[in-house]
Symmetry: C3
Subunit: 135 residues, 3 copies
């Protein structure tokens, strides 16, 4: 299994960060197998959505509504309402598996692999890419 970690600059604003190019580059030249994308952070997740047409913004807005950045959270530290970032990964999982055939991700036309990072307190994130080839 080939596995490596990439660094992603997410800044101090909630972000949907497109990782598709990095993922596609990672499996290029490989054969068939499964790509696992894994975020080793407790306040971020991965989503497969269309980017650049408004859905990235829509996702952040609906997350603000479903998991409000207010004072309801028992887990308190960092920015106000940061506790909501700690429940995010229960709904937007930090693990994603994508099939690869002939070194190409089998994504649909409008699908992008995205890091969803609503955390305001960590400007840089790492993401682990692992390719398990077919035996």
């Amino acid at each position: 299994m080939r596995s490596d970690t990439i660094r992603v600059r997410t800044g101090n604003r909630p972000q949907v960060h497109d990782l598709t190019d990095e993922c596609a580059g990672f499996v290029r030249g490989e054969g068939d197998g499964l790509l696992n994308v894994f975020v080793p952070h407790a306040t971020a997740g991965l989503a497969v959505i269309e980017t650049g047409a408004g859905s990235d913004e829509d996702l952040l807005l609906v997350l603000d509504e479903l998991l409000p950045r207010d004072d309801r959270w028992v887990h308190r530290h960092g920015s106000p309402g940061h506790g909501r970032d700690h429940v995010l990964p229960a709904f937007v999982s930090p693990s994603l598996t994508v099939p690869v055939i002939g070194g190409r991700l089998q994504l649909g036309t409008w699908q992008s692999i995205c890091l969803v990072d609503t955390n305001l307190d960590n400007a840089e994130r790492s993401v682990r890419l692992s390719f398990l080839p077919s035996p």
Copy 2:
């Protein structure tokens, strides 16, 4: 890795479509390994739930409440409120991995693998099944 795409007719109403039989048939005769189910569409996801006892209907109802089909969405095209279908995959992921032993899915008694398609504008969907065998 054996990988193939099946076609699913979902019609023009929101649907929870049971794929368990197709998945079970796909791995029959195989040994041990992981089945990856992947939906290459930006407006559908996969859920493992019980079907036929009301939960499929419950899921569509609660999705209408959590992700309302109204005019809040930045991403606008197709049917009114279609933007909600574009954030669905962030919560109901288009990728699912199920363990297989001796050619049998290791699902619990009440679990079914379901395509969740709330999109009204695409009546036919494809789903990719990939079996990665144990080395």
Copy 3:
């Protein structure tokens, strides 16, 4: 693929039960590969969150809000509002894949693998652990 089932006592209250030690022990001594954790129950899921700082409690509270234990659910049996437990796995998936390198889970410092079981009617649960090694 090495695969085994563990038993977890969850009692008759909603629970976020930390499985990290069992998962880490299961892959210890292995090489590289993917660990799949799978819950063969229709009313529980798996989340990767921080435990012991309040987020486990926060998750149960926000689940009570997003999926209320009231009489809206079509699927009715067992405890009042139990129908909400049946839609939970659509949002908190019963399948989770974690990369393993040199027999070690590649979790971040604050990540724990947790069984999320809001079901009041089943006091004991099983969880399947499967390690697919690199070829």
